[in-house]
């Protein structure tokens, strides 16, 4: 669980954060803050699917489910089984 959190957080920081001074935590809003927009959410979903070998149905990939690293982990775990 902790490992997954760190992997996702690291990916978000590497790919979506423009200002290196921005502090991002597991609870930082990603979608509602605009850090990850609706178009970029597609690449974030693709990362999760490729990394954890899962398939997330589009109806489950809501802005709310993708809004923080913590909520993403909950979503991913649902499909890892």
């Amino acid at each position: 669980m902790e490992e997954m959190k760190d992997e996702i957080l690291e990916y978000v920081i590497d790919e979506y954060i423009e200002d290196e001074d921005d502090e991002i935590t597991y609870d930082t809003p990603l979608i509602s803050s605009g850090i990850v927009d609706s178009f970029s959410m597609v690449s974030l979903k693709r990362f999760l699917e490729a990394k954890y070998q899962i398939s997330i149905p589009d109806e489950k990939a809501s802005p709310e489910a993708f809004d923080t690293v913590n909520s993403i982990v909950v979503l991913v775990k649902e499909f890892i089984g």
Partner: protein, 568 residues
């Protein structure tokens, strides 16, 4: 009663002088959009009226009266002038939807410089080609976007200043970087607004075409005449309205109607600078008591997707008029909005080049769900044959949308690209590049683009630009980019690629290509799907046949393939 009162009557008795008179403008006068949107409103006795209610993440709020807008835009102007920036210099505004974007836009116009707003999600390559084309003198930006600007400084010698509006002093500034703090900057005394005239350049918005680099659409201060009246009659803004235009001023709707239209009418607007979610949008409408809401089909379809139940959790009774623009608003969305909000979204049609609304549904006029509506009074619109460019008189016949040039907000040229500008006119019609039909009652019905440009979420993406960028990825040998149908965004970008020797197609490579384009160009341009192919269909002369790939995606007839070199 609506501002337009009767579409038919307005159409019969129309003249653009209606707008000129209301704005107190006479031919040959000085006309400066910056002044009209702030100083004039103050002189009309509305200095203390709220102009902008801004909300950021976590409910952070800032409010500005029209007098605040006047003073702060003067500060911007004085600061820029102090740097030696003069009229007609291009000044890029590269910010999120923060107050400095809206106010800085007017400040740039007040000194006669040309405002070049660019969407802050653009990657460094997208930013560079647009700055390069305009030979932009200065860029006004935020700390969070400075990294992208720094990447292109070396190859942008014309860019003299990088102005950061929220520098916190934690990190040292680099060469060409300056700070400007709007709140603490001293109010300039005797600030003089540059005496721009009707044909003085005002705004340079960039738009994408099928081939070549993005084109800078040049607008002039006289565009105000169209923008003012279309705001009044189509968006129906009235004195006590609280207006919410969800468009980003990096795009034309965000400036024509998110700054110029509403503020030239002295209307209070509110801005939400956070990411999209149905709950945050409804909460915003409820909290700000929004009365007029101007949005886009992609957002409306996303709200539909969020469902009816969430709507019931909020009090949206303040809403009295809803309008939409960006791509065609499907009839389901119109009907749904009437069901859940009690008012239907009314679609309208225009584009970056037209500068203002051209075809619309109007308050009080019968709405035909799925139709773009009827031409704005004073606009001569037709659907013309794609070969003869003669108007098609038969109802329902599909042809090219065409406008007779001459309305005030029409672009004056493409920046440094007069040849392409001229190519947009045929048989004395201006052709925006879209296909439509007209029914018996004169309503226009959108059919699609007449070229390969991809309309995703209301924004145009050039397949050429994405294909060129794809070739810079280490694994990509060849690429072809087409539109793919999408339930929410109407179209999204899909790329077909062949790989260089030594690379194997897999999920991580696909992700790497997607992110490469997202960062280089923009999230809009990022292919939402990548299909690996062994070869791309080409003509005998070697040109990639996008048409074939497009037809495959849309389940259409492939058509003539006689020139095809290699059919997969």
């Amino acid at each position: 009663m609506s501002n337009i009162v009767s579409y038919e009557e307005r159409e019969k008795n129309f003249d653009w002088s209606i707008s000129e008179k209301e704005l107190g403008y006479k031919d040959g006068d000085i006309i400066n959009i910056g002044w009209y949107c702030s100083d004039r409103i103050c002189e009309m006795g509305k200095a203390d009226k709220l102009a902008l209610i801004w909300e950021g993440l976590g409910g952070v709020e800032k409010k500005y009266t029209f007098d605040d807008i006047r003073i702060n835009s003067n500060k911007f102007g004085a600061f820029l002038r102090g740097l030696g920036i003069k009229n007609e210099d291009r000044i890029c505004l590269f910010m999120d939807k923060i107050p400095e974007l809206y106010i800085g836009f007017l400040g740039v116009l007040k000194i006669g410089a040309i405002a070049q707003p660019l969407f802050s999600a653009f990657g460094d390559e997208s930013l560079h080609v647009r700055l390069d084309n305009a030979e932009t003198t200065a860029i006004i930006t935020q700390r969070k976007h400075v990294g992208k600007v720094r990447k292109l400084l070396e190859k942008s010698p014309y860019l003299k200043y990088v102005i950061i509006v929220d520098h916190d002093g934690k990190k040292p500034l680099k060469e060409r970087e300056l700070t400007f703090d709007m709140e603490s900057y001293e109010e300039p005394k005797d600030f003089e607004i540059f005496p721009t005239k009707a044909e003085s350049a005002s705004v340079l918005h960039y738009t994408s075409g099928t081939t070549g680099q993005p084109k800078g659409v040049k607008h002039v201060h006289y565009s105000l005449i169209s923008q003012y009246l279309t705001t009044k009659w189509v968006l129906d803004l009235q004195e006590d309205d609280i207006y919410w235009c969800t468009a980003d001023p990096g795009w034309v709707t965000g400036t024509s109607y998110g700054i110029i239209g509403c503020w030239s009418l002295g209307i209070t607007q509110c801005v939400l600078d956070t990411g999209f979610s149905a709950t945050s949008w409804y909460e915003f409408i409820q909290k700000r008591k929004v009365t007029m809401w101007y949005s886009a089909p992609t957002a409306i379809r996303s709200l539909m997707k969020a469902g009816d139940e969430v709507v019931k959790q909020y009090d949206l009774s303040s809403l009295r008029h809803l309008a939409s623009v960006g791509e065609p608003l499907n009839s389901e969305a119109v009907i749904w909005s009437e069901k859940v909000y009690g008012i239907a979204f009314q679609d309208n049609y225009w584009q970056t080049e037209t500068g203002s609304i051209m075809i619309a549904n109007y308050p009080g006029m019968k709405v035909k769900p799925g139709s773009m509506g009827r031409p704005f009074p004073g606009i001569t619109a037709a659907v013309v044959d794609s070969k003869t460019f003669e108007p098609l008189s038969e109802p329902g016949k599909i042809g090219l949308i065409a406008f007779r040039p001459g309305w005030p907000a029409m672009m004056r040229t493409y920046w440094e690209n007069e040849e392409t500008y001229k190519s947009k006119f045929k048989n004395d019609w201006y052709l925006p590049g879209d296909r439509a039909s007209i029914d018996k009652e004169g309503y226009f019905w959108f059919v699609g683009r007449d070229d390969d440009v991809i309309n995703t979420g209301g924004h145009l993406v050039s397949p050429f630009e994405v294909e060129s960028a794809l070739l810079e990825h280490e694994a990509v040998a060849e690429s072809a980019v087409v539109a793919k149908p999408d339930e929410v965004n109407m179209e999204v970008v899909k790329a077909f690629v062949t790989l260089k020797a030594g690379y194997k197609p897999d999920d991580m490579l696909e992700l790497s290509i997607m992110n490469f384009i997202r960062k280089k160009l923009s999230p809009l341009a990022m292919p939402q799907e990548i299909e690996y192919v062994d070869s791309l269909p080409k003509t005998r002369s070697g040109k990639i046949m996008r048409r074939l790939l497009h037809a495959k995606e849309w389940g259409e007839e492939i058509g003539d393939t006689s020139t095809l070199e290699d059919d997969e």
